[in-house]
Each structure stands twice: as structure tokens, then as C-alpha cells.
């Protein structure tokens, strides 16, 4: 009895001494700032910053390799936190959100064949370039939805991907999995966007889609600072965005492919505003 207690206790004591020594001798120096930053980041490991997870980003920031404003999910809060820890001044980057540059759901755009098979846009794309007649429209099989870690994407009943602009943190994961590059990133404040992704000519687009950009250049003529037309596809110049001019161009669009996404997001607020007026 006593022999057992002594021997086991002895082994325990010996192990404790060795462990204690090892902890002192082989201690890894961790910058306390790194731990603090990593602990306060959102922890989604989404990779939007371009580093391997939140830990990787924290390490890069402390090493001075990364600016403090790369964490889009963390937003202004994360920037302020990193700035405080690092003792630098930093302004939050303009938050970006994903924009589905397509309105061609199954009521407005035609299919060239019936697709039956694996529910994945990338697989469908491998079969004769996807079932949609448009070579660059949203296939609506939800590969982006599965890739989104924040639940910001969904497929509408009409078969089109929809972004929840409140939930989207701008991590760009969806843009990497979309086989047709339909999803583009835009600053959250630039709410007016061209919702088309096809470079086909007007007559070709009209043959398969009711709401495609025909490249008529009217938006560009109305507001040259805000709109650009490249190869029969209009786009909004996000760096010189101006709400008023953008809206002016939007109202002139004959193809109805330029939309104010904020208006679509908050229809109720708009109504109350109208009432107030």
C-alpha cells in the first residue's frame, strides 16, 4: 500500500519536475500583441485578408507585413482594435459586398438544354458550357451558397443567386468558386450596379435574355464619370462613384439592367420616406 503510494507519487513528482523544466527551457516566445489580435478577430478563418486564417493574419500584422485594415468581416471594429494594439492610426477600408451581376432567372433567360445531374454549377458548366443559353449568366445551382460561410447567399425560387447585403462580409469566397465569374465585389456604398455579365452583342443577348446589357452606351453618355462600356458590357466605375449621376444613368437604361441594390434591400424604409415626404 505504502510502497504503491510512494512509487506513484515519486513518478508524479519526477514528471512534474521534468515538465516544469521543459516549460522554462523550451518556452516559445509569442508576441502578446499577436495573441490579442488573433483573439479579437472574428475567428471565421474566411481568408478574405489573403492570409491563412485569422492567426496567420495576426502574425502578419504584428510582423509588419500586413496593413491593419484587411479584415473585412471584422469591419471598423477590427481595424480600431488592431490600431489600438499596434499603436498606429488606421482608417477602416470601405466595406465591400458581393454583387450577383445577372438578373436572368428562369422567367427571363432561356436555357439551351435541360440539366439533370450533380447540383453544382461547376459540373454543369463542364457540360456544353452550362444549361443556360447565356454564356455568362448565373446558373443558379448554388455552388456559391455552399461556399459562403456567413449564410449571406441563397438561391431565389426563380433560380438566381441572391446576396443578403447585411450578412455579406466581403470575403470573396463566392467569387472564387463561381465558374462563370458572375459575382463581383463592389463597395457597399456604391449601390447602383450593372446586373449583367455577358459580353455578347445586343442582338445575340436579346435572343436569350430579356434583361441583358446590350452595350448601347446610353448610361455612359448620361454619366461618363460613373459608367464604362467595355466590349458591349457596361460597368460602374467604383472608384469614381457618384450616387446622383449613377441614378441618372440607371433611369436611362433601356435594357433595365442597372439597379439600385439598396432600394431593393430596404423597400420598407423607402416607403416610409416617401410617406414622410
Amino acid at each position: 500500500m505504502i510502497a504503491a503510494v510512494i512509487s506513484l507519487g515519486g513518478i508524479g513528482f519526477l514528471a512534474a519536475v521534468i515538465l516544469g523544466f521543459a516549460a522554462k527551457k523550451f518556452a516559445v516566445e509569442v508576441d502578446p500583441r499577436e495573441a490579442e489580435i488573433a483573439g479579437n478577430l472574428p475567428g471565421a478563418n474566411c481568408g478574405a485578408c489573403g492570409y491563412a486564417g485569422c492567426g496567420g493574419y495576426a502574425k502578419a500584422v504584428v510582423a509588419g507585413n500586413a496593413p491593419p485594415n484587411l479584415c473585412t468581416p471584422g469591419g471598423a471594429g477590427a481595424v480600431a482594435m488592431i490600431a489600438r494594439v499596434m499603436g498606429v492610426e488606421a482608417t477602416a477600408a470601405e466595406p465591400t459586398v458581393a454583387v450577383i451581376c445577372c438578373q436572368g432567372d428562369n422567367t427571363r433567360a432561356q436555357d439551351k438544354y435541360k440539366y439533370v445531374g450533380v447540383h453544382d454549377c461547376r459540373t454543369a458548366q463542364a457540360l456544353a458550357g452550362g444549361p443556360k443559353a447565356c454564356p455568362s449568366g448565373c446558373l443558379g445551382l448554388g455552388t456559391c451558397v455552399a461556399a459562403c460561410a456567413f449564410g449571406a447567399l441563397s438561391i431565389s425560387p426563380e433560380g438566381l443567386a441572391v446576396v443578403d447585403r447585411e450578412k455579406c462580409v466581403g470575403c470573396k469566397k463566392c467569387t472564387t468558386v463561381c465558374p462563370r465569374n458572375v459575382i463581383k465585389m463592389a463597395p457597399k456604398s456604391a449601390t447602383v450596379q450593372v446586373l449583367c455579365n455577358s459580353h455578347d452583342k445586343g442582338a445575340v443577348i436579346k435572343s436569350y435574355c430579356q434583361v441583358g446589357c446590350i452595350g448601347c452606351q446610353i448610361c455612359k453618355k448620361t454619366a461618363e464619370d460613373v459608367y464604362a462600356v467595355d466590349n458591349f458590357l457596361a460597368s460602374v466605375k467604383n472608384e469614381s462613384y457618384d450616387q446622383e449621376k449613377a441614378v441618372a444613368g440607371m433611369l436611362k437604361c433601356p435594357a433595365k439592367c442597372i439597379h439600385d441594390l439598396a432600394a431593393a434591400d430596404t423597400p420598407q424604409e423607402e416607403k416610409t420616406e416617401e410617406k414622410a415626404q
Binding site: 439551351k112 438544354y113 435541360k114 439533370v116 445531374g117 450533380v118 453544382d120 461547376r122 459540373t123 463542364a126 457540360l127 456544353a128 458550357g129 455552399a146
Partner: protein
């Protein structure tokens, strides 16, 4: 009384089993696979007919009809071309030249819709109806040529595997040094349902095939040549046996089973050798060529005729009159169907190739290529577009797989996006025969998952190489 009945019954079963086993023992085959209804009766008795090209017809000849680098157009819009003239020159070793299928004028060199539904570069020729041969083409006596000269002629004629895979033949005939080839296997299996093109070729032109085999044998320097033919083509087996007498070529009847015509499965059935995982037939001393390729090689060497036409079966429930046709490369599907009496009833699906491995075509306007072994039209009622159900773990796919992989497990991993796990389950060994998908009672698109996995794995490998 009852006991005796049971005894009699079990005796009858044992006899049946023995007989059945005995039947199988006679014919060679591989492990796994299945037997879909072959439906060859529609067209197996129809002699090959020529599908004509009239004046003013447009032929769309794609510059990438083979595996490997696409050819480069060497004609321009407005050029006059003659039948058999080179219109695309090969780029690189794994590539072949492309020839004009008829004489006429080049009206465009532009991207056109191909079989896969994508727009790729093509030369469009407007036929002048004269079908005038290029006078520069000339034949030679194969016995007076060296193997390398024979191979040059095969390359110049743009010959590719005619079974449907369209791998350049001259590459297959050039094994790297150190690889000893002792077996030439001719693929006359035609295990795809509906197709009867190879069957008709062997019945109608056995001497062309045999002469081609002799040329191939000379190039490879092999002693043994075996033609594998599935047992449902008794006339072809008989004709070939007669034609091969005294030529040192053996005819090997094979059990009726899909995919008996797949390269690795055919090698196993004929020789008992197994191609190692990730390896090629030459790794076990074999070269496999289609019988159609052998006939094309003969035409190329003896008469200098490039690969501008081939035999294809037009069949299926939505074709008025199924036929075997000699088609010109570049003719639109619609022309072939028109020649066969047009569409019967409501058209549900068009397939280029066989129903098991062929590709669904998006429209009737796409042209036929060097790999088109058949055009199948199915009526709407015959096409199943049922939604996929849950896996019931019946294991049918595992039993049917001739590559001995586990389709259900791989699909399960791919559903979760685990490409690495799929790679560990040897998805790269999949020969894409579609047996698992055919047999699956839950209609799970297994093969599509594997194609997805394979392309992802190939992309990963390419990425690793870059880094």
C-alpha cells in the same frame, strides 16, 4: 414426397448453374461490368450507305477533333480546297493534321459550336459538288517502307483512334524506348449498345482491316495480333476468321458484356494481363487499336487517303430508318438524320457516340467528327429525367465497376467537397464507362461526380507542378 421434390429442384438448379458456368468458361472476359440491352437489331443488317454531300452544302471541320494540341488552320477565307488537302497543320507531337473532306471553297475560319457544346476553331467549307481529289495524294507499297516511313504516312493522314477516344495513332505506335511490345490487340468488340459501325466494317471490308493489321504489326514489330470481337456478332467473327487465315492473326470471341471494348478490360480478357494503376497498355506489352483505325491505316498507307470519312451508325427510337452510313467529317448531324428519313415522333435527346459513353449534343447543327461512331436519337418517352434519390447502399455500382473502385464512397466524399479523399479512393482509375450510373437504382449521377473529382485532381497536380 416433399423432400423428393426439393431434391429434384435443387438438382435442376445445380445443373443450370453448371451449364451457365460452362457457357462463361468458353468465352473470355473481364471482371465486373454489366449487360445493357444491346439494341443492335435496328441496324446490324443494314449495309453501309454513303451519305452524300451535294453542291452548296456547308461542312464545318473543327481543328480539334483529337486528344492533344489543336491543329492550326493553314487556309484562309476564300481559298479553294480539294478533297484530302491539308487545312490544318499539327502543333506538337500529340497532334494531327486536319484535311478537307470534299472540294470547295473556304467560306469561314472561325469558332463554331462543337460536339461538347463549346465554340472552337473550325474551317467551314462550301462544297462545290465535284468532290475532286487532291492530285498530290499517292499510295505506296507498305512492304517497301520502313516502320518510320509508315508512321509518317499515318501522321500525314491524320489518323486517330476511331473507337471514339480519338487519340493520335502515330503516338500510340511510338512506344518510348525500353518498353517492349509483344501484343497487338484489335478492338472489334463494339460493346456500346445500338452501334454497329465496326460490325458492318468487319463484315463488308474484312480485307481492309486485315491489311491494316499487317501494316500495324510491321510498325510495332510484334508477332502476336488478336482481334477481340463480342459474341453477339457471329457473322463478323466468321468473316474475320476467314480473312485472317494464314495471316498470323487470331480472332478471339469475347463474352457479351459492357465495357468489354474498354482498352484495359479488353487487354485483360485477351491476354490475362492487367494494366497497372495509372499506367498505359504499353506498360504490360500491349497496343490496342480499333478495327476502324486499322482500315484507315491501310487506306492511308496504300492509297494515301487521309481520314476524311468514317462509318457511323444512325439509330435510336426517334430515327425513322436506322442505318449505317459512310459520313464525311464536318457534315451536320441534321444531314445524317435527314438521310435516314428524319426524326420520328418527339425528339428527347441526341447523343454523339454510344448511349453509355457518348455525349449529348446540344443541337442538330453540330458537325460529326473523326470520333463520331454513331448518332443516336431518343424519343422523349425514352429519356429518364428523374430526380436523384438517396443511396440505398445496394452495392450494385461496386459490383459493376470494371476498375474495382467504390463509386458510392467516392460520390459520398465528393458531395462533401473532399477531393483528396476521392483521390485516396483511386478515382483516377475510373475509365468513365458509366456502368455504375447505369445500374444505380437511385439515379445518382455517379460518373459526373468522378469527372468533377478527376478534373479537380488534375488541376491540383498542375498547381503543385507550378509551385
Amino acid at each position: 414426397m416433399q423432400v423428393q421434390q426439393v431434391k429434384e429442384r435443387s438438382k435442376a438448379f445445380v445443373n443450370l448453374f453448371r451449364q451457365h458456368k460452362g457457357m462463361n468458361m468458353e468465352l473470355k472476359t473481364f471482371k465486373g461490368g454489366l449487360h445493357p440491352p444491346d439494341n443492335k437489331r435496328w441496324s446490324e443488317k443494314k449495309a453501309i450507305e454513303v451519305c452524300p454531300v451535294a453542291e452548296g452544302d456547308e461542312l464545318v471541320i473543327h481543328l480539334s477533333q483529337h486528344i492533344g494540341a489543336p491543329a492550326e488552320a493553314c487556309v484562309q477565307k476564300g481559298d479553294k480546297v480539294l478533297k484530302g488537302q491539308v487545312i490544318g497543320t499539327p502543333k506538337g507531337f500529340v497532334s494531327v493534321p486536319i484535311h478537307a473532306s470534299t472540294s470547295g471553297e473556304v467560306i469561314a475560319v472561325e469558332p463554331r459550336l462543337d460536339t461538347a457544346g463549346n465554340k472552337t476553331m473550325a474551317v467551314v467549307i462550301k462544297a462545290d459538288g465535284k468532290d475532286e481529289w487532291d492530285p498530290n495524294l499517292s499510295g505506296a507499297d507498305p512492304d517497301k517502307l520502313m516502320p518510320q516511313e509508315l508512321k509518317d504516312r499515318i501522321l500525314a493522314a491524320g489518323i486517330v483512334g476511331m473507337g471514339g477516344a480519338t487519340f493520335p495513332t502515330h503516338v500510340k505506335l511510338s512506344p518510348p524506348e525500353g518498353k517492349k511490345i509483344d501484343y497487338l490487340i484489335l478492338n472489334g468488340v463494339e460493346c456500346e449498345p445500338y452501334l454497329t459501325a465496326d460490325d458492318r466494317l468487319m463484315q463488308e471490308k474484312p480485307e481492309e482491316v486485315v491489311e491494316g493489321i499487317l501494316i500495324l504489326k510491321r510498325i510495332l514489330g510484334v508477332e502476336k495480333a488478336v482481334i477481340g470481337i463480342e459474341a453477339n456478332k457471329p457473322t463478323a467473327i466468321e468473316t474475320m476468321q476467314k480473312a485472317c487465315e494464314g495471316k498470323g492473326i487470331e480472332v478471339c470471341p469475347l463474352q457479351l458484356k459492357y465495357p468489354q471494348g474498354a482498352e484495359k478490360q479488353l487487354i485483360y480478357a485477351v491476354t490475362g494481363r492487367e494494366v497497372p494503376s495509372g499506367g498505359l497498355p504499353m506498360d504490360c506489352g500491349c497496343v490496342v487499336q480499333n478495327v476502324g483505325t486499322a482500315a484507315a491505316v491501310n487506306a492511308a498507307v496504300r492509297r494515301g487517303i487521309p481520314l476524311i470519312e468514317r462509318i457511323a451508325t444512325v439509330s435510336g427510337s426517334a430515327v425513322a430508318e436506322p442505318k449505317n452510313l459512310l459520313i464525311k467529317i464536318g457534315q451536320p448531324i441534321s444531314k445524317l438524320v435527314e438521310f435516314c428519313g428524319g426524326v420520328k415522333g418527339e425528339l428527347g435527346k441526341i447523343i454523339q457516340g454510344g448511349p453509355m459513353m457518348g455525349m449529348a449534343a446540344v443541337s442538330m447543327d453540330v458537325p460529326v467528327t473523326r470520333g463520331t461512331s454513331g448518332i443516336l436519337l431518343f424519343s422523349e418517352g425514352e429519356v429518364i429525367r428523374a430526380p436523384e434519390g438517396p443511396c440505398v447502399r445496394c452495392g450494385n455500382c461496386v459490383r459493376a465497376c470494371p476498375a474495382f473502385i467504390m463509386p458510392t464512397e467516392i460520390a459520398f466524399q465528393m458531395r462533401r467537397g473532399k477531393v483528396d479523399e476521392a483521390e485516396k479512393l483511386n478515382v483516377m482509375d475510373c475509365i468513365e464507362c458509366g456502368s455504375c450510373t447505369y445500374i444505380c437504382p437511385a439515379q445518382i449521377p455517379l460518373l459526373q461526380f468522378f469527372r468533377q473529382a478527376k478534373s479537380a485532381i488534375r488541376a491540383n497536380i498542375a498547381k503543385r507542378k507550378k509551385v
